[in-house]
């Protein structure tokens, strides 16, 4: 099976966010692999181990994104594709998907995997859009994949504890639910092996995608508080004592 995993690089979870224009200031913060995508990568690697084939790590973004592709290669992906686009953060979901599709279509994969959503924009649309643009069947929020006789039996998560099995032909696009597997760490051997692996660099403008954006981020801001929080201060012991007091005599919940 030839599997393409779409991986986004996002600001590190503990990165302090400061707003700049209609995005965040990127200059002083660290970046990491979007955690939901790491589950998709792991699932691709497991499918390859079971059924053979090839795993490609595909990422769209500025130069810094290469580090995340290298991490995917170190974990076991065979090849990387970096679509270079410095204006990436301003793309709308459809625009990103159109650019990704232009690169994916050339590779003719059996399966395209994405994580559930990104931890920055959080649009959660890429997988479904890729399927629409590639005219492939798809399924989302996947908790289990079994491949047999050219098709897949999938376990899909629904709300409130419900699940559903579905059957899906190949080729297809799947969005993977976080927690589907235990993500592996890169080994030293993997990191060394990654140095010899190929990363194809494709300038986004060379893909000839020229769609008008369908939506625009007008403004980003810190949300106004809906509830008045009473902050407790002091030493840990003092704060704990104050909290117990508040919960007993003010909120009267214990």
């Amino acid at each position: 099976m030839k599997i393409i995993v779409c991986i986004k690089q996002v600001p590190a979870k503990d990165a302090p966010l400061s707003i700049s224009g209609n995005w965040i200031k990127e200059s002083d913060i660290g970046f990491e692999m979007n955690e939901p995508d790491s589950y998709a990568l792991e699932e691709a690697l497991r499918l390859k181990e079971k059924h053979g084939g090839e795993v490609l790590a595909l990422s769209l973004g500025p130069e810094r994104v290469k580090q995340t592709i290298k991490e995917a290669l170190a974990k076991g992906a065979d090849r990387g594709i970096h679509i270079v686009d410095d204006n990436f953060a301003q793309l709308d979901p459809l625009g990103s998907a159109q650019i990704l599709v232009a690169a994916i279509a050339k590779e003719n994969p059996d399966l395209v995997l994405t994580g559930l959503q990104s931890e920055d924009h959080g649009f959660g649309q890429t997988g479904v859009l890729l399927a629409g643009l590639l005219n492939l069947p798809h399924a989302t929020i996947i908790m289990q994949i079994e491949v047999q006789d050219g098709k897949m039996k999938l376990k899909r998560e629904l709300e409130a504890g419900w699940f559903q099995h579905i059957e899906c032909p190949l080729p297809a696009v799947l969005s993977i639910q976080s927690g589907i597997n235990k993500v592996r760490y890169a080994t030293l051997k993997g990191i060394m092996a990654a140095k010899k692996k190929e990363i194809a660099v494709i300038p986004a403008e060379s893909l000839g995608v020229s769609a008008e954006p369908t939506q625009k981020i007008e403004k980003i801001y810190v949300p106004s508080k809906t509830k008045k929080t009473e902050f407790l201060t002091g030493t840990p012991k003092e704060m704990a004592a104050k909290l117990v007091e508040k919960l007993r005599f003010e909120a009267r919940v214990i």
Partner: protein
């Protein structure tokens, strides 16, 4: 503005976010002198259409088809595309459910349009609709607007609008109109099989009056007993945000959030939980919320009644001791 609201039902039950979205549509209609058509889609769902006809909407559109008995993204996309092409709405609204995120981006893309998903509000700015949605896991909010021509697609987050504000119809019932769609078996490429629940868990967190919940801040499974000690001292149940259960540090049945349980206890004590929206939707109904987090900008503080900015590893033992002392 002509607004279509696509409601959602499964196996004879409403997804209640449908009513919240209808209420949102009524507010948008009021702001833009718009009209609302409520849409029911499925097989044998006339009773759902009849129920919507009692709401303050201009009409109810009923798409019934053999092949829509069970949800499939292909079936819903093909059917709704025909409806949208024939009714020519300006705005198509959806409840932001797992099902909606499974097909609506594709439906919009099939028409060359985009979707603004998971919105928590809207504003009418001199005739231009601006949608409000969270980004960076709730740490920031963004105003997003559509560019280009209608139809525009948007979905509203569960809990963003109040279903009890949904206006009933002043008198009589709105007309229910059946809409025929052309759908063939070969249009549908995936095959839905059984719906099931995993083995029922022993704990029912929805019934627990006091919940102590842990998030990423707990750092390692060997630290969980410290949180369990707090739970024991307070007489509550231990729960967690999704990453903790994904790691296998606590069983999935103890997960609070959109993919886990939704709870509304008397007290929700959040330890090292940042407050990503997927978690918050599962607990924001708690009467009293306490948040302990080292990051003073963590979104959990936005909904907390009491906040402690500090290291949970210092607070947990101190709190256990104080709780035990209080109990005498």
């Amino acid at each position: 503005m002509k607004i279509l609201v696509i409601t959602e039902q499964r196996q004879g039950k409403w997804n209640n976010t449908s009513f919240e979205t209808l209420a949102a549509a009524q507010q948008i209609a009021a702001a833009t002198s718009g009209t609302i058509s409520a849409v029911v889609i499925g097989k044998g769902v006339a009773a759902f259409a009849d129920e919507l006809a009692a709401k303050n909407v201009a009409e109810v559109l009923l798409i019934g088809h053999e092949l829509l008995e069970h949800y499939t993204p292909d079936g819903y996309c093909v059917a709704l595309k025909q409806l949208i092409e024939s009714t020519k709405p300006d705005l198509v609204l959806f409840p932001h459910t797992y099902q909606v995120r499974d097909f609506v981006p594709k439906l919009a893309a099939m028409m060359g349009k985009g979707m603004i998903g998971d919105c928590v509000g809207f504003r009418d700015e001199a005739g231009k609709l601006v949608f409000v949605r969270q980004m960076f896991q709730g740490k920031t909010v963004a105003d997003v607007s559509f560019t280009g021509n209608a139809p525009w697609f948007a979905s509203f987050q569960s809990g963003a609008f109040r279903a009890d504000l949904l206006e009933p119809r002043a008198s009589g019932k709105a007309p229910v109109q059946a809409v025929n769609v052309c759908l063939k078996p070969e249009d549908i490429r995936t095959k839905p099989l059984d719906l099931f629940k995993e083995a029922k868990s022993a704990v029912d967190l929805t019934q627990a009056p006091l919940i102590v919940a842990i998030g990423r801040g707990i750092k390692a499974p060997e630290n969980i007993p410290q949180a369990e000690a707090v739970a024991k001292a307070i007489g509550g149940e231990i729960a967690a945000s999704r990453p903790i259960c994904d790691e296998g540090w606590l069983p999935m049945e103890r997960q609070i959030g959109s993919s886990g349980q939704t709870v509304a206890p008397k007290l929700y004590l959040a330890l090292g939980i940042s407050g990503a929206i997927q978690h918050v939707v599962g607990m924001k109904g708690a009467r009293t919320i306490v948040a302990v987090n080292k990051d003073s900008n963590a979104p959990i503080f936005e909904i907390a009644d009491y906040g402690i900015v500090g290291d949970i590893f210092e607070i947990m033992p101190a709190l256990t001791e104080e709780l035990q002392k209080a109990k005498g």
